[in-house]
């Protein structure tokens, strides 16, 4: 098991955003998290990637303990937390490339400065990844010169360059024009074929159904239902899931 989260709780200004979320991710698994806006999906991802701190709960990533309030340990020491961060990657909704770095440097810099990889190896790796993203010819471009879809592919390459064991996606296509979402979904699909472990928060239902091994439906800070896509999308018995999917189809 690569990730195990138990009973996660998080409040913002006295509003509970996560009300006891538990989640396990196995190696090679693709998990899609769906649910209405404000259901806590992104907050969950941000807690799992250390961008937010949980108020309570236990998280273990790749056998390393990140936090455990259940036995009163709290967050682990900074060194362990740093090691855990290196095990995961995160792709943001709005890409968040470094605007002052070229495409190549966006992918090379952390390899060299964080992992200590030598420059040439890092560049080779970056070029391979750009090949895979169909962007080899744009290696010297700057983010501001690229479309959203291209920027998001660079962001994926940047995350992959550090060899994460789990890759998180926070609504990776929500900031894109509809005609550009396809290219991102294609990349994620090919990563799934390579057995990359991924947790994807998404509003692309058809895609979730198609690519995910497991789908989690969240609403109001709790996991309402989790299961195989065909069960959840096909014949859910849960009224809240039904309502959500129906509303979604109407839009």
């Amino acid at each position: 098991m690569l990730l195990k989260a138990d009973n996660l709780q998080k409040q913002f200004d006295n509003t509970s955003v996560l009300k006891g979320i538990s989640l396990a991710v196995n190696e090679g698994e693709v998990i899609a998290i769906i649910g209405p806006s404000g259901s806590g999906k992104s907050t969950l991802l941000r807690c799992l990637t250390q961008l937010e701190k949980v108020d309570a709960g236990r998280i273990e990533v790749c056998g390393k303990l990140m936090v455990d309030t259940i036995s009163g340990l709290g967050y682990s020491d900074p060194k362990t937390l740093h090691e855990i961060i290196l095990e995961v990657g995160l792709v943001f909704q709005n890409f968040i490339l470094f605007p002052h770095y070229s495409v190549l440097r966006n992918i090379v810099d952390a390899q060299v400065k964080v992992l200590g990889v030598d420059k040439q190896t890092a560049v080779d790796k970056a070029m391979d990844l750009l090949d895979k993203m169909n962007l080899r010819s744009r290696s010297n471009a700057y983010p501001c010169e690229m479309s959203g879809g291209q920027q998001q592919r660079v962001a994926i390459a940047r995350a992959l360059a550090l060899n994460p064991r789990i890759l998180f996606f926070d609504e990776p296509t929500s900031a894109l024009d509809p005609e550009l979402t396809g290219e991102i979904l294609k990349v994620i699909r090919s990563l799934a074929e390579e057995k990359m472990t991924m947790v994807i928060v998404t509003h692309e239902m058809a895609f979730a159904r198609d690519v995910a091994d497991r789908v989690i439906f969240m609403d109001e800070g709790v996991i309402v239902e989790a299961g195989k896509p065909e069960e959840l999308f096909g014949n859910t018995q849960n009224q809240r899931t039904k309502d959500f999917l129906q509303r979604f189809n109407q839009n």
């Binding site: 961008l51 470094f98 002052h100 810099d109 400065k113 501001c144 550090l162």
Partner: protein, 219 residues
């Protein structure tokens, strides 16, 4: 050669050597106040009130009172309070540097504050340390943002150097006014104006070039 009874061939070399003093104030102030301004900006962003409140008070005092008054204070204050003096040149540089650091602190604080939170988050998940994030991701973008207002500030500084004459530092403006009253002519003042204008044209052009150098990307 004389214009309006002013021996211009004597005046110009005098004013050139006085300009050396002006440039000295200008460059020493830059060298001291820019790094100091960065520290002020960082201190202002500190979440510890024991750090950010005193710095705020310092900025209020130095931006809220005349620079000429501050020059007097550094020149004569230590003598009345402690019985020693910095000397003219040091008092002058101290007043300029501390005054300009207060302004630069505000410019840099705005620059640092305008870097989106996402940049810090992206760097964090990639494993950059806080120091690496600041030096590699934040600072280069801040520099681009603050270039125009820094250029503006330096043009003001060129003109503000004339205030040094109030504590009898012999710089360009001092030489010009002295010559003006000696020959009862406005010619030295006009020449001084040209000198300042040339210096500021150079500042302006330099900053346009630096701005262009950072034009290769958009934030």
């Amino acid at each position: 050669m004389r214009i309006d009874n002013v021996p211009i061939d004597l005046l110009i070399p005098n004013m050139l050597s006085a300009s050396v003093k002006t440039l000295q104030i200008f460059f020493l102030t830059i060298i001291l106040s820019i790094p100091l301004g960065f520290l002020v900006a960082l201190a202002r962003r500190s979440k510890y009130r024991i750090i950010n409140i005193p710095v705020r008070i310092y900025q209020l005092i130095f931006r809220g009172t005349p620079l000429m008054l501050q020059l007097f204070f550094f020149m004569y204050g230590p003598y009345y309070i402690f019985g020693f003096t910095f000397g003219r040149d040091l008092a002058c540089i101290l007043a300029f540097a501390i005054n300009y650091a207060a302004y630069f602190g505000e410019i840099f604080r705005g620059g640092i504050g305008s870097i989106p939170k996402g940049q810090y988050e992206a760097a964090k998940v990639l494993g950059y340390t806080k120091f690496q994030t600041f030096m590699r991701i934040v600072l280069p973008q801040v520099i681009k943002i603050v270039i125009p207002s820094t250029g503006n500030e330096l043009m003001t500084l060129v003109k503000d150097t004339s205030l040094a004459q109030s504590i009898a530092v012999i710089e360009l403006f001092r030489v010009a006014t002295t010559a003006g009253s000696k020959y009862a002519s406005t010619v030295p003042i006009v020449v001084a104006a040209l000198f300042y204008l040339i210096m500021n044209t150079i500042v302006e052009i330099s900053f346009k070039i630096i701005e262009k150098k950072f034009d290769y990307y958009k934030n």
